[in-house]
C-alpha cells in the first residue's frame, strides 16, 4: 500500500464503486462527499427502486456502502468539499474543508464522481406549468410518493386515476441547449408507470414520447412488461401544453401514429426530466482545472475507448459527471476510473 491515497470526489453510485475498487486493489482511498450521507442522487432524491430491476434503492446502494466501510484503508469524509488542488499526477495535494476544519490530503490520483442533477422543469420551453399546477410533478417527485407508498394528487390528496408521463423534458432540445438524450428517463418513466399500475390497478397510465430509448435488455426488462403486462399506453407525440380544466389537467399534443390531434384530461402529469451536470460537477471542474464540454459535463479527453481520462493527467472522471448515464454505466466507469487511478499512482511510486 502506497503512502498516498486515491481521492474520490462524490459518494454516489459511481464514487462508491470507484472507492470500493481502489480499496479492493489494496490502496488507500479517501471518499469526499459534500452531503451528510452517501448514496448520491438516488438517495437524495428519494428513489424507491432502481431501473431496470426494481430493487430497493436504499438496499442496493446501502450494500455497497457497507462493503466499502468494511474494507481496510478507507476514509470517508462527509459534509466535506474540495477547496483547491496543488501538484501534479502522482503527487497531488487536495485541500478540503469539512466539519473538522481544513486539511490537506496527499493524493496520487483523483476520481471525480460528482454526478448530475435533474433538469429544472421550470426552464422547459413548452408550457407544462410545473411551478403553477400542483398536479404536474417530475419523475423524482413521483418516485418519492412511490417510496412512501402514497401516490396522490398533490392538489387534493386523492388517488389519481389517469396519469401521463411526458418524455424528453429538458433533453434533446436545441431551444434549451440540452441537445443530448438523457438516456435513463425512458426506463425510469416506464419503471414508475409499472409501479403506479401495480399500486393503483384501476388507473390508466400513458407515456407520451418522441421515441422510446430502451436500449439493450431494458427492452424486455421494462418496456415490454410495461406495455404487455401492465397495459401502460405509449403514445408517440409530445405534449405542447398543459391547461387546467376545473380540477383536471388538459393535455394537448398530437397522436402522431394515429394521425390526429389529441386533447385528453389527466389527474396527474409526470415530467420525465433529463440530466444536467450537478452544481458540484460544474464547480469541481473549475477547482481542479479540468475541461467541461459545452453542456457543462466533464470532458472526456480521449474518446471513445478511453472513457474516464480528463484533460488533466492524473484526474479521472466517472458516472454522470461525464454526461447522462444509467447506474450500470456509473458502476462500470467508477470501477474503470479507480483501476486507472491506482495504476497511475503505482507507476508514479515505482518511478520514485
Amino acid at each position: 500500500m502506497s503512502n498516498q491515497s486515491v481521492v474520490v470526489i462524490g459518494g454516489g453510485p459511481a464514487g462508491l464503486r470507484a472507492a470500493t475498487t481502489v480499496a479492493e486493489l489494496g490502496e488507500r482511498v479517501t471518499l469526499i462527499e459534500q452531503r451528510s450521507f452517501l448514496g448520491g442522487t438516488p438517495i437524495a432524491e428519494n428513489y424507491a427502486s432502481l431501473t431496470p430491476h426494481l430493487h430497493s434503492a436504499e438496499e442496493s446502494i446501502g450494500a455497497i456502502v457497507t462493503r466499502l466501510q468494511g474494507l481496510p484503508g478507507v476514509e470517508i469524509l462527509t459534509e466535506t468539499e474540495v477547496q483547491s488542488l496543488q501538484g501534479e499526477a502522482g503527487d497531488f495535494t487536495v485541500s478540503v474543508s469539512g466539519p473538522g476544519g481544513n486539511r490537506d490530503i496527499a493524493a496520487g490520483a483523483i476520481v471525480v464522481a460528482t454526478g448530475f442533477q435533474h433538469f429544472d422543469p421550470g426552464r422547459e420551453t413548452q408550457m407544462y406549468g410545473y411551478y403553477e399546477y400542483p398536479d404536474v410533478v417530475a419523475l423524482q417527485d413521483l418516485e418519492a410518493m412511490i417510496k412512501d407508498g402514497n401516490i396522490v394528487r398533490p392538489s387534493n390528496g386523492e388517488t389519481p386515476k389517469r396519469i401521463c408521463f411526458i418524455q424528453c423534458v429538458g433533453s434533446r432540445d436545441r431551444q434549451i441547449g440540452n441537445e443530448y438524450c438523457s438516456k435513463v428517463c425512458c426506463g425510469v418513466a416506464s419503471k414508475e408507470a409499472i409501479e403506479v399500475r401495480e399500486a393503483i390497478p384501476d388507473s390508466e397510465v400513458f407515456i407520451f414520447y418522441i421515441d422510446m430509448r430502451m436500449y439493450g435488455y431494458w427492452e424486455s426488462q421494462i418496456y415490454w412488461p410495461a406495455q404487455e403486462k401492465h397495459h401502460v399506453q405509449y403514445v408517440k407525440g409530445i405534449v405542447t401544453e398543459i391547461l387546467r380544466k376545473e380540477d383536471k389537467l388538459l393535455v394537448r399534443g398530437e397522436d402522431t401514429t394515429m394521425g390526429r390531434p389529441m386533447e385528453v384530461m389527466m389527474d396527474m402529469v409526470v415530467l420525465s426530466v433529463g440530466m444536467e451536470p450537478s452544481a458540484g460537477t460544474r464547480k469541481i471542474a473549475g477547482v481542479l482545472g479540468i475541461n467541461q464540454n459545452k453542456y457543462g459535463f466533464i470532458d472526456v479527453a480521449n474518446p471513445p475507448l478511453d472513457t474516464v481520462s480528463t484533460s488533466r493527467d492524473g484526474i479521472f472522471a466517472a458516472g454522470a459527471a461525464l454526461g447522462p448515464a444509467d447506474l450500470e454505466d456509473c458502476s462500470s466507469s467508477g470501477g474503470m476510473a479507480a483501476a486507472r487511478a491506482v495504476a497511475l499512482m503505482r507507476r508514479a511510486v515505482a518511478a520514485g
Binding site: Y223, W224, E228, Y234, K236, T257
Partner: protein, 240 residues
Amino acid sequence: MGTATATDPYRKVQDVAGFADVPLKEKQRLVDQVVADPRFEEYLYGCYECGICVAACPSARFYDFSPRRVAQAAARRDVELMYQQMQEDIWECSQCFSCLRCPRGNNPGGIITVMREVAVNNGLASAREALEGYSRIIYKIMSTGTQVSPDMLQPDAFPDWGPEVADVSEHLELWRRALPPETHHTTKTGWAVAEKTLIELYLIWLETGALDMINQVDEGLHMILEEVMEERLEEEGIEV
C-alpha cells in the same frame, strides 16, 4: 362518413361508414366481446407502431386500410375507433396474415378475425353488407358440404378461360365422368359427400353456432338452411 339522405341531410344519424351510429355502451359491449375472446391475448402483445405489418399488407396498398391502426386501436382499447373499424376496416383485410411478421409477435389479422366474428355474431350492418354477395356460396357449402359446384359454371362467365368453357358447360356430366376419381362424377356438388359426413357437418354447424351466425346476417338464408338440415336430421332420427 355517411352519405347525406333525405331523412338525414346533415349526416347526424349516420356516422360510421354510412351505418347508423349506436350508443357508446353498445360499442363498449362489442369491444368487450373482442377483448374477452380467448385468442385475443395471444394475438396482441404490445405495439411498436413501427408499420412493418402495413408494409407487408397487400390490402394496405389498395385501400385506406392499416393493420397497424387495428392493432393500435385494440391495444389502446379505443372503443370508438374499434367500432368504426368493425363497421369498415376489418372487411378490407384479405386474411392473408402477412402481418404475422410483427417483431412483437402480434397477429393483426387474427384480431381482425375476432372482430369479424363479433361483427357477424351481433349482426352488424357492415357484416351483412360484406357477406351479401356470398349467400349462394354459403348456401352451397352449408347445405351440401362442398363449395362451388360445377353446375354453377356459366358458359359466358369467364371469357378468359377460353372457348372450351361453353362446351364443358353444355356436356357437364360427361366431362365430370371423365375425371379419374369417382367422387368427382358430380354436377350439383363439388364432389360426392357421404350421408354420414353431411349429417356430421350439420351437427357441427348447429352446435358451434355457425347457423346462428348466418341468422344474424341473412334471415332468409338461415330459414332455408334450417329447414334443409332439420328435415335431414329428422330422417336420421336425431333430435335438434
